[in-house]
C-alpha cells in the first residue's frame, strides 16, 4: 500500500486518537503491522488505536463533510451547518399525527435540504449553527438531502464555527429555480399577492405570499418582510432561497434579502405572463413540480377509477365494490373524475380532472352520467366515453404539478382541446430545415 492509499486510514486513526500521536508515527506503525506482520488493515487500525490508549470504537466516528461533498448515499454523516430555513409540518405516521421539521442547511460550500424526523429533544431555530452527528443522506429528484433520524444528535455551536457562504448571487430564470438554491437573483412580475398572518416560533408574523413570473415560468413566493409589494410590480430580488413543498419549488425572502421595485417595460403584463410559459414534462420532472403550469400533451391512458366513481362519505376515498378501504361497506356518494396519463414525448405524468372539468369534457353533468350508467347497467360506460373523447387528442392542460415517489401529478384547473394547424406547422418546419 502506498502513502496515498494509507492516508485516509491514518486520518481515521488520528481522529480516534484525538491527534495525540503524530501522523508519521502512525504511518510507521501501520506499515509495520501491514508489511512485517501481515495483519489486515481493519485489525491493524484497531491494534494501533489500542496501543496508544484510544478507544477502537472511535474509529467509526464519521468524518465530517462539507455540504458540497454530500453525495446522497451516506449512511452515516456528520456536518456542521447553519440553519437557513426551518419549518414544521404535520404528517401522519402509522395513523398517528406527528410533527417533523424540514428546511435548508448551509455552510461555506453550499446548501442542502434537510428533514428532522425526531423533534422532541431539539430546540433549534432559523439562524442557529448546529453540529449534526450520525445523520444519513439520500436523494430526492436526483438532489442529495440530509435526514436526521432517531439515531442522530444535534448540538448548537457558536456562530463562527461555520464560515459564511459568500458568493455572488446566482442569476436565475424562474423556470430553472430548484429546491435548495439560495442567494438567488431573480427578476419577475408579481401576478398575485396576499397578506397573511402566520404563527411562528417568535410570535405572529406578517407573510406576503403570491405568484411571481417571468417569461420562462411562474413560482410561488413568500416574503417574510414587508417590502411594500403589490401585484403588477416588477421586482429584482437578490438573496432569495428556495424550498419545496411536494416538489413545487417556492421562493422565500426576508429582511436579509434586497428587493428593488424596477420599471421594466420589457416584461409582458401580468395577464400575458399568466397564460404563457408552457413547460415540457421532462423539464417539470427535473424541477420536481410547478405552480400553475401549462402542458401541451396527449392523453395515452385512462386509468381505472376514472369516470363515474363513488366516494366514502366519511373520508372521501374512492369506494371499490361498495366498500371503503377504511370504513368498510358504505353508501358511496357519486362523483366524476378522470385519472389519466398525459405524455408529451419528453415525459409522462398522472393527470387528475375533477368533477367540473370532467363534466365539461363529457358535455353533461353527474346526474346524467348516473342515469346513463343505470340505463346500461354499467358504471364503466362513462370511463369508456372519456377514453373515446380524450385518448390521442392534443390537449393544453393547466394546473399545479407536484411530485412524490410515484412521479409527477398534475391536478388540472383547466383542460382544452388544442387546435393545431398541422399543414402550416409542417410547412414552417420544412422551410426551417431546407435552409
Amino acid at each position: 500500500m502506498n502513502e496515498k492509499e494509507l492516508a485516509p486510514h491514518i486520518e481515521d486513526i488520528n481522529r480516534a486518537l484525538k491527534e495525540k500521536v503524530s501522523s508519521e508515527q502512525i504511518e510507521e506503525e501501520l506499515q509495520k503491522f501491514r508489511d512485517e506482520y501481515r495483519i489486515s488493515l481493519g485489525d491493524a487500525k484497531r491494534a494501533i488505536v489500542k496501543k496508544f490508549g484510544g478507544d477502537p470504537q472511535d474509529l467509526f466516528l464519521n468524518p465530517e463533510k462539507k455540504i458540497n461533498e454530500i453525495r446522497g448515499d451516506e449512511r452515516s454523516l456528520d456536518i456542521k451547518a447553519r440553519i437557513i430555513a426551518i419549518q414544521d409540518k404535520e404528517i401522519e405516521l402509522d395513523g398517528q399525527p406527528k410533527t417533523i421539521f424540514y428546511g435548508i442547511f448551509g455552510d461555506d460550500t453550499g446548501t442542502i435540504p434537510f428533514t428532522l424526523w425526531e423533534s422532541k429533544s431539539v430546540d433549534i431555530e432559523k439562524g442557529d449553527t448546529v453540529h449534526v452527528k450520525n445523520a444519513y443522506a439520500n436523494t430526492w429528484n436526483d438532489q442529495p438531502q440530509v435526514n436526521i433520524g432517531s439515531m442522530a444528535g444535534i448540538g448548537i455551536l457558536d456562530d463562527d464555527e461555520v464560515p459564511p457562504f459568500e458568493r455572488d448571487p446566482q442569476v436565475c430564470d424562474i423556470k430553472d429555480i430548484r429546491e435548495g438554491m439560495r442567494n438567488l437573483m431573480v427578476t419577475g412580475r408579481i401576478l398575485t399577492m396576499e397578506k397573511k398572518v402566520v404563527q411562528t416560533d417568535s410570535g405572529e408574523k406578517d407573510l406576503f405570499s403570491g405568484v411571481l413570473a417571468d417569461e420562462s415560468g411562474k413560482i410561488q413566493f413568500s416574503a417574510w418582510h414587508d417590502f411594500q409589494l403589490e401585484p403588477e410590480q416588477v421586482i429584482k430580488l437578490v438573496g432569495g432561497y428556495v424550498r419545496s413543498w411536494r416538489g413545487i419549488p417556492q421562493l422565500n425572502f426576508d429582511e436579509n434579502s434586497e428587493v428593488e421595485i424596477i420599471d421594466d417595460q420589457e416584461l409582458p403584463s401580468a395577464d400575458t405572463l399568466q397564460d404563457s410559459s408552457t413547460m415540457t414534462i421532462s423539464h417539470l420532472a427535473r424541477r420536481g413540480g410547478a405552480v400553475d403550469a401549462i402542458v401541451d400533451a396527449v392523453v395515452i391512458d385512462i386509468k381505472t377509477g376514472s369516470g363515474l366513481i363513488f366516494r366514502c362519505p366519511e373520508c372521501n376515498r374512492v369506494v371499490q365494490k361498495g366498500a371503503c378501504r377504511i370504513h368498510g361497506k358504505v353508501d358511496g356518494e357519486a362523483d366524476l373524475r378522470v385519472k389519466g396519463i398525459l405524455d408529451d414525448g419528453t415525459g409522462a405524468l398522472t393527470m387528475i380532472m375533477t368533477r367540473e372539468l370532467t363534466e365539461n369534457i363529457l358535455g353533461y353533468d353527474l346526474d346524467k352520467a348516473k342515469e346513463l350508467a343505470r340505463d346500461r347497467m354499467d358504471q364503466d360506460v362513462i370511463k369508456d366515453e372519456l377514453e373515446e373523447l380524450l385518448i390521442a387528442q392534443p390537449l393544453r392542460v393547466r394546473g399545479n404539478v407536484t411530485s412524490d415517489e410515484y412521479g409527477l401529478m398534475l391536478v388540472a384547473s383547466d383542460v382544452k382541446f388544442k387546435k393545431i394547424d398541422v399543414e402550416e406547422e409542417a410547412r414552417k418546419l420544412l422551410d426551417e430545415v431546407s435552409v
Binding site: 395515452i300 406547422e425 409542417a426 430545415v433
Partner: protein, 291 residues
Amino acid sequence: MSMMKREVAWRIFADELNNSTLETRGEDERAPTYIVSPLGAKVNRVYAVGVLTEVDNRGTPEEPLWQGRVSDPTGTFFISAGRYQPEAATSLSNIDPPKFVAVVGKTSTYRPDDETVLISIRAELVKEVNDEQRDLWILEAAKSLKTRLEAMAEASRMEDVSVQELIDLGYDPTLADGIKAASEHYQTYPLDRYWSIMKDALRYVLPEYEEPTVMDTADEGLDEELMERVLEVVQELEEETEEVGVSYEQVRDIVVEREDITMTEFEELVSKLRLHGKLMEPALGQIQSAY
C-alpha cells in the same frame, strides 16, 4: 430513493425504430430495458399513429395472440397483444383494417441470429382514430426526430461524445445518454438519411403530396430484375426447406451477397414485392412467396 418514473412514450418513425440494434438495461435489477435507436432515442415505450393494415390471431382461439401491422410514411410497426394486454387485444380483434389507429406499447425484441434484431410493440392500448390525428402524430414524430438529428449533429462534431456537453447545450439528459450510447454502438451518424426521411414525412401531410408511384423510377428495369432475383431466392429456400415462409435474414444475406446490393436496397425490393403482391410477410421476420 429514486422516483418510480413512468416511461415516456416516444414518437418515433417506424424506420428509425426498426433499424435499432442496441439494447441497454439500467444497473438496478428492476430497471427497464431500452432500445437505443441509431439517433439515440432510448425507447422503452412507443406512441405511434398510423394505418392498421393487417390483423391476425397467431395464437389459439382459447388463448389468442393478436398481431397487426401499422404503417407510417416510413415503414411498418409490428404490434402484438395477448393475454397480458387484454384491453389492447380486445381492441385489435374488433378493428377491421384498414383503419387509422393510435398505439401505445412497450418495445420487445427478437433475435433470430447474432446480427439481426427484430422489433415489435407489445400494445397496451390500441384505439381507432382519424386522419387528422395521424397527421398530427407525423408532425410530432418529425419534431422529435429533428431534435435527435440536431443533437446527433452536435455529437458528430465532438472528438469524444460527452453527455455533459450535450446537456449543457440544452438537450434532455435521457437523450444525451442515448446519443452517447448510439454513437458508440452504431459508429456512424446517419444524418443525411434521416433528414430526408423527416422531410418526406412532413411533405406527406401536405395537400399537394403525391404518392411516388412504384413504377416511375428511372432504374425500374434494373429493379424488376433484382426483384425477380429475390423471388427466386425465396422460392429456392422454400423448396429446400419444404416449408412455406422462410427467414427474412437468410434471404437478405443471400441476395445482398449475390447481387452486391445494400441492405437498404434489399429492404426496398422486398417492400416493392409486397406492394405488387408477390411476397407476403406471414410473421415478423418471415417472408413467403405468394403463389
